[in-house]
């Protein structure tokens, strides 16, 4: 499934070792391939500030969707006396519920020690004594791999008290989620971690100032942490050279839908969309033509033919009106009705709304119903304008309490732009030509 195309672990820091080992990487295999060398070095000879500076210099950006600079986020955590008394927390967001996304599960099932080492480094950087992996409840195989890895690392003294004999303590535990998409939003995640309903919290204060149990907390994605060990081992300059455009490093890109070889590949960040689809995913299956893609999961705007030569990096995709998101793209071929696909997407977002604020709780089901009516031939004149109005209102970043609703509406707003004639035809003819 995931392919680094025969690259070494220095060229493919995320999956190189998985490829070299040819499957799941256990502790001894991990250590044979420089595993835990970065954590050992950092705890012995780097200050927390030096680790943060190196991650900043490397320009590692969050792989959970928003692309926030990781080193900068870590630098917001108060250190020393300024942190007050009590633990600081490091949390890995392993909720991965964004439809179309399948990268974090792969990393955790195949190379759980990479995540553990990345978290040890993060913990050292912010001086956290406690860590949690917030894991999707349905990820049973990942749970078993990760728990085994944590136990094996703890048995060797790499987790727990006085790790690597450095005097630093870090306890790492797994929270298995009760299941709800909104748990992936980082402040909702903290409520869930505290055993509560996963409702988002008011920001500010942001988690680095006040997070889990009111203490300074950092939340990062699985893939983000997995980038850290190689940055510490090989340096910022090496990391920059891995990327193609403005961004640094590699990215796990994925493609699902009617391509010949759906899958996941570790490639230089900034690899063009067309190369991912045609070279790596093998192009479209015979008899199917590509109409559009959701570049980085269900909550990102459609891109169409005019965009396919663009580079998959944060800035380029944003300029094109979408988001790189998780980097796992969903392909819409010409056998799929755009109206019905939007219905499917909005059904998900309506169902997963936490229900706290009105535009999201009421607006998304309304939108879903309008789309169902249009799809099933009950569309009326004025429905498209109603969808436009809802899209603009629900998508207004300050109209809702969190970013669930704006994300939810991105695929619809862009579909209304790029596939408008499909919507119009449904209403005009009272029929769907794809049925």
């Amino acid at each position: 499934m995931a392919k680094g195309n025969g690259k070494t672990s220095a060229e493919a820091p995320l999956i190189g070792v998985i490829e070299a080992v040819g499957g799941a990487v256990d502790l001894s295999a991990y250590e044979t391939h420089e595993g835990y060398a970065a954590a050992r070095t950092a705890l012995a000879s780097m200050t927390p500030a030096e680790v943060i500076d190196l991650v900043k210099e490397a320009n590692l950006r969050g792989r959970g969707g928003a692309g926030f600079p990781t080193g900068l986020k870590w630098s917001f955590v108060p250190q020393g006396d300024a942190a007050g008394s009590g633990p600081k927390y490091l949390v890995c967001n392993a909720d991965e519920m964004e439809p179309g996304t399948f990268k974090d599960r792969y990393l955790m099932e195949r190379n759980p020690h990479l995540l553990v080492e990345g978290m040890i480094l993060g913990a050292w950087a912010i001086q956290a004594s406690h860590g949690y992996v917030f894991l999707r409840g349905e990820y049973h195989a990942a749970y078993r791999q990760l728990q085994d890895a944590i136990d094996a690392a703890a048995a060797k003294g790499y987790l727990g008290k006085n790790i690597f004999g450095s005097g630093f303590d870090f306890e790492l535990r797994i929270h298995r989620s009760g299941g709800r998409y909104i748990c992936g939003e980082e402040t909702a995640l903290l409520n869930a971690l505290e055993g509560k309903r996963a409702q988002p919290r008011q920001k500010p204060p942001f988690p680095p100032a006040s997070g889990a149990w009111g203490r300074p907390t950092i939340v990062n994605n699985v893939e983000t942490f997995c980038n850290v060990p190689a940055i510490i081992r090989n340096g910022a300059e090496w990391y920059h050279e891995l990327g193609i455009g403005d961004d640094a490093g590699t990215k796990l890109y994925g493609a699902s839908g009617r391509v010949k070889r759906p899958g996941l590949w570790e490639l230089p960040i900034g690899t063009p969309i067309r190369e991912i689809i045609e070279e790596h995913a093998g192009g479209m299956q015979d008899g199917y033509a590509l109409r559009g893609i959701l570049p980085g999961g269900a909550s990102t705007d459609f891109l169409v033919a005019e965009h396919f030569d663009l580079a998959m990096d944060y800035g380029t995709i944003q300029k094109a009106g979408s988001r790189m998101g998780t980097g796992t793209m969903i392909l819409m071929d010409d056998s799929i009705c755009p109206v019905d696909m939007c219905r499917n997407l909005e059904h998900f977002f309506a169902q997963e709304s936490c229900g706290f604020c009105t535009p999201c709780r009421e607006g998304l089901p309304w939108v879903e119903q309008l789309l169902l009516d249009i799809e099933e031939g009950r569309g009326k004149e004025g429905d498209l304008e109603l969808l436009d109005r809802n899209a603009a209102f629900i998508g207004g970043a300050t109209n809702t309490f969190c970013l669930h609703a704006p994300g939810a509406i991105e695929p619809l707003a862009s579909a209304l732009k790029y596939f408008r004639e499909d919507f119009e035809e449904h209403i005009r003819t009272g029929a769907c030509r794809y049925r």
Binding site: G100, F102, E138, H140, R173, H175, G178, A298, F348
Partner: protein, 169 residues
């Protein structure tokens, strides 16, 4: 494991957890700043033993964690994977999210419903299967997907359903 009869009859007014369940919940509590923080873990622990969280289990967990039953139930009902109704011996969860949709999940859903003779949300009369929809299982490159108990199954096809379900008596 099935729910003790007294839960259904309501005859025994003191709900209980097994020593193993209690120990597993206490282990979670020992690693958390306060007992209420273990609410979700506790319900998931009990559900893994009993298949679902009954009113009696809920009351027992609430008492163990020192919180009200109503507060605990409001948490239980928020989460998709905490079942407040009994389920069959095997839970079949069919992915209905976008990549699986593109790969024919709507058609597959009808085929699975026909095959099991169940609609979404129903449990078979013999208590063997419960059929539920689930969101993206994180295996979109093998769409359409489903999960049976803890097993993730990709590239699901109507032809293979009989073979697939055979392993779940």
């Amino acid at each position: 494991m099935s729910e003790p009869a007294q839960d259904l009859a309501g005859a025994d007014l003191i709900p209980t957890l097994s020593p193993e369940e209690t120990a597993a919940i206490e282990e979670e509590c020992a690693h958390l700043p306060d007992r209420e923080s273990a609410a979700i873990d506790a319900m998931m622990i009990v559900q893994r033993e009993r298949g679902w969280v009954s009113d009696a289990s809920l009351a027992a967990i609430a008492r163990l964690l020192g919180m009200s039953v109503a507060a605990l139930d409001s948490i239980a009902t928020f989460y998709n994977l905490i079942f407040r109704q009994p389920v069959g011996r095997h839970v079949v969860m069919l992915c209905d999210s976008v990549s699986c949709y593109v790969m024919g999940a709507d058609t597959l859903r009808k085929q699975v419903e026909d095959h099991l003779n169940l609609n979404m949300g129903e449990t078979s009369a013999d208590g063997r299967f419960t059929l539920l929809p689930i969101v993206c299982l994180g295996a979109c490159d093998r769409a359409p997907t489903m999960m049976v108990d803890e097993d993730l199954i990709g590239n699901v096809s109507a032809e293979q359903l009989a073979e697939t379900f055979k392993g779940y008596e």
